[in-house]
Each structure stands twice: as structure tokens, then as C-alpha cells.
């Protein structure tokens, strides 16, 4: 029993079909629970009610980065082992990642307006998220521009590898370019910087919810891609007959 068995589309469809209702249910439960719990937390003595946007902002930002890493892993698996499910999973994940990046940027702007007095600041973190969004946009555009699915998977895979290097490079280059306004790590474990438990536990729940939400969307979208492939194969067979 190895993990590569799930590279078989038939097996993947069966397992993911069985998993899907549970993943969707727990994703809805955790996300809704985390956000609702977050809304019910007491207001921060400095930030007031705006602190509650953190329950959307931090999980979305976390997923935005992690989805890119997942795409990188899936692209590598495709380029090395040529498993189609892997390439399709990378394709399916990209729009979710782009939306997560957008959620992080928009919620950050909404929070920044009352707190920093500006919707947008060329802060390293904000800037690197904008750059990450551009990389997602280029990746999605390349997928939609190429007709042959295998070439598209190869080329987007190579782009994902090169893009990862440059996204990381940009992340540290912008540090050099401008000083930051954004606060440091949200989940620092250092004493004194640590978030109060009142906010921390709903945040953990919300992060879990966002992760499950991504998993649910990824499974649904990958299944759709596989079905689309099968449909195209059937149509091609029809044309030949």
C-alpha cells in the first residue's frame, strides 16, 4: 500500500468521493465555528472590534502561501513521476490560492484603513502578497492559454518551479527595499508576543477550517478536472469512430 496508488484516477475518484461529504461538512463546521467564535470574542483594548478580522485574514494568508507550496509539490510530482492527478490537482489549487491571496489582501486593507490610516502601504509583507497574487495570475493564465493538456501541465510545472524561486527571492528583496509596518508573526510562541488565549483558540479553529475548506475545494475541483478529461477523451473517441 503506497501513496502512489492514489495517482490512479479511478482509485482517486473512489476515495475522494467517499471522503468528500465528510471533508465538506467538517470544513463548513470549522470555518463557521471559528469565525462565529471569533466574532463573539471580547473587543481588544486597543483595536476594538477590528481585531476580529484576524480570524479571516491570518488563515487566508496562511493558506495562500501553503497552497503555492502544495502546487510546487504537485508540479514536482508531475514533472518527475508523470501522475496526471497530480498535475490536475495543481491546476485545481491555483484559483483557490489566488482567491485566498485576494482575501488576505482585502481583509488586510479593510483592517488597515482604521488601524494604520491607509488602505494600502508598500510594506514588505503586503508587497510580497501582491507579487504572490501576480504569480498566481500568471500561472492560471498559462493554464488557460495552452490547449494541449500535457504540454500545459509541463509548462505550468516549470513555471511553478521558477516562480517559486522568484517569489521567495522577491519576498526577501522587498525587505531590503522598504521597512515594514506589518506586525511580526501572528502565532509567535515567544512570551510577551504571544496572542492571548481568548483570540488564539478561535484562530486555531478558523485556520483548521480554512485548511479543510481548501481540501474540500481541491477535491471537488480535481474531480471536476478528471471528469473533464474523461469527457474530452470520450469526445475524441467519438470523433475517431
Amino acid at each position: 500500500m503506497s501513496i502512489w496508488e492514489y495517482a490512479n484516477p479511478v482509485k482517486f475518484m473512489r476515495v475522494s468521493g467517499a471522503m468528500l461529504p465528510w471533508v465538506v461538512a467538517s470544513a463548513v463546521l470549522c470555518t463557521a465555528g471559528g469565525i462565529a467564535w471569533g466574532v463573539l470574542t471580547p473587543e481588544d483594548y486597543k483595536q476594538g472590534a477590528t481585531v476580529k478580522i484576524v480570524f479571516l485574514h491570518v488563515p487566508a494568508a496562511m493558506m495562500a502561501i501553503n497552497i503555492w507550496v502544495m502546487m510546487l509539490a504537485a508540479s514536482l510530482i508531475w514533472l518527475i513521476r508523470r501522475h496526471h492527478v497530480s498535475a490536475l490537482a495543481a491546476k485545481a489549487a491555483a484559483p483557490v490560492g489566488a482567491v485566498m491571496t485576494l482575501i488576505a489582501l482585502v481583509t488586510g486593507a479593510i483592517w488597515g484603513q482604521p488601524m494604520w490610516g491607509t488602505w494600502w502601504e508598500w510594506d514588505p509583507r503586503l508587497t510580497s502578497f501582491l507579487i504572490l497574487f501576480l504569480f498566481y495570475a500568471g500561472y492560471i493564465a498559462l493554464w488557460s492559454a495552452i490547449e494541449d493538456p500535457d504540454s500545459a501541465a509541463d509548462l505550468t510545472g516549470v513555471l511553478c518551479l521558477v516562480g517559486s524561486v522568484f517569489a521567495l527571492l522577491s519576498r526577501y528583496a522587498v525587505l531590503f527595499w522598504n521597512q515594514g509596518l506589518h506586525q511580526g508573526a501572528s502565532l509567535s510562541v515567544a512570551p510577551g508576543e504571544r496572542m492571548s488565549a481568548v483570540y488564539r483558540y478561535p484562530l486555531y479553529l478558523s485556520m483548521l477550517g480554512f485548511f479543510l475548506l481548501f481540501l474540500a475545494l481541491l477535491l471537488i475541483r480535481t474531480r471536476t478536472e478528471i471528469r473533464r478529461r474523461r469527457l474530452a477523451a470520450l469526445q475524441a473517441r467519438e470523433m475517431r469512430a
Binding site: 500568471g138 492559454a145 504540454s151 518551479l161 521558477v162 527571492l169 528583496a173
Partner: protein
């Protein structure tokens, strides 16, 4: 490899090759900016390094799709792929030819345009140095983008969407060199970073670009 370089250079310099267009575009860009922000020295001087670098970036972008597109159309790219030299070498030579026909003229013309934008004289050597170090990376990354989009009919716009985000680190360190040079700061750190990026890009990106070309020639 040398004959391939000669061939690409002569194709670029002869009629219809678009040689010098990048410099003309660069000039127009630098002439347009004062109309946009006003002719005052105080307005132009602080933004001059950024304008010059962004201008170089865009001028470089203009001719990128020519790196492989024409050879792909007439089939000589297939011949090059089966030639005894590795495809990585072909990519590197073509990027070098692009740099000689686009990057090098930009480097040579940049001080002139710096004068137009009131860049202080003390910053001029740094402008030339930063462009000289940075533009090879632009050509090489551009060759990668061109290799990815070579099979597409309307790849031009997609090419800029793919390539411009890759240019960000180069742009950041390039302008930082000029800014520090103009303020008599120490530009050694950004120079080292920029040189590091260029060296890394020139060494590694040909492999990615050749991989993309092989997919497109399949």
C-alpha cells in the same frame, strides 16, 4: 555556438530585425514622463532611477517574443534542437544575442536619458553599472518566458504577465544601487545582490527554458 550568435546578431541588425527599437522606445518613455509629472528638477530627480529601470525593463520586454518566435515559425528552431550543441546552449546564446542587441544599447544610452531626467552626475556611473550587471538577467529571464509562450498564437500579453513578476528582484536591487550611489551611500550590498541574481539566473534558467522549449517542440 559562435556561428549561431553571429547569425542571430546579423538577423537582428538587418532590415526588419527591430534593432534600435528598444532604445527608441526607451527614449519615448523618458520623454513622456516629464509630461506626466511636470518638468521640475525636484519632481524628476527622485524618480529618475526608477523611471530609467522600469523603462529598461519595458524596452527589454518589447523584443522578447522575437527570441524564439521567428525561428519557431520557419522551423529553424527544430533544426537547432537536433543540432549537436545542447538546447541549453542554444537558449543561452539566443539570450546573449538578445542582450547584445537590446540590453547593451540600453546601457550605452542610459546616461543620456539620465540627463533628460535630471539624474545627478554622481549617480551616472552607478546607473551604467547597475544596468550592465542587471540587464543580462532580464534577457535570460525573458528567454525563459519566450520559451514557455513560443507555441502560442497570441503569447505577447501572456509573456509580459509571466515575465514581469520575475523581474521584480532585479528591479529592486538595480534602483537601489543608483539611489545609494546618488546619495553617496554604499552601493556595495545591492551590487553584490544584483550580481548574485544575474549569475544565478544565467547559470540555471537556461535549463528551465530548454525544458520548456522541448515541451513546445514535442
Amino acid at each position: 555556438m559562435l556561428s549561431l550568435l553571429k547569425r542571430d546578431l546579423s538577423l537582428a541588425t538587418r532590415a526588419g530585425g527591430g534593432f534600435g527599437l528598444a532604445v527608441a522606445f526607451f527614449l519615448i518613455l523618458c520623454a513622456l514622463v516629464p509630461f506626466g509629472v511636470g518638468p521640475a528638477t525636484t519632481a524628476l530627480r527622485p524618480i529618475a532611477p526608477g523611471i530609467l529601470w522600469v523603462g529598461a525593463l519595458l524596452a527589454c520586454l518589447l523584443s522578447l517574443d522575437r527570441i524564439f518566435a521567428l525561428d519557431h515559425e520557419d522551423g529553424s528552431l527544430d533544426l537547432l534542437a537536433t543540432a549537436p550543441i545542447p538546447l541549453e546552449g542554444v537558449v543561452a546564446v539566443k539570450a546573449l544575442a538578445h542582450w547584445i542587441t537590446t540590453g547593451l544599447p540600453l546601457v550605452a544610452a542610459a546616461p543620456l536619458f539620465g540627463v533628460l531626467l535630471h539624474l545627478p552626475g554622481s549617480a551616472m556611473p552607478w546607473l551604467v553599472a547597475s544596468l550592465l550587471i542587471g540587464t543580462p538577467a532580464l534577457s535570460m529571464l525573458g528567454a525563459f518566458g519566450a520559451a514557455i509562450t513560443v507555441g502560442l498564437r497570441r503569447g505577447g500579453l501572456l509573456l509580459s504577465l509571466l515575465v514581469l513578476p520575475l523581474y521584480i528582484p532585479t528591479l529592486i536591487f538595480g534602483t537601489e544601487i543608483i539611489r545609494r550611489g546618488a546619495e553617496r551611500g554604499d552601493p556595495a550590498t545591492p551590487i553584490l545582490f544584483l550580481a548574485g541574481i544575474t549569475a544565478g539566473v544565467v547559470a540555471l534558467v537556461p535549463f528551465a527554458a530548454a525544458a520548456a522549449l522541448r515541451v513546445n517542440l514535442r
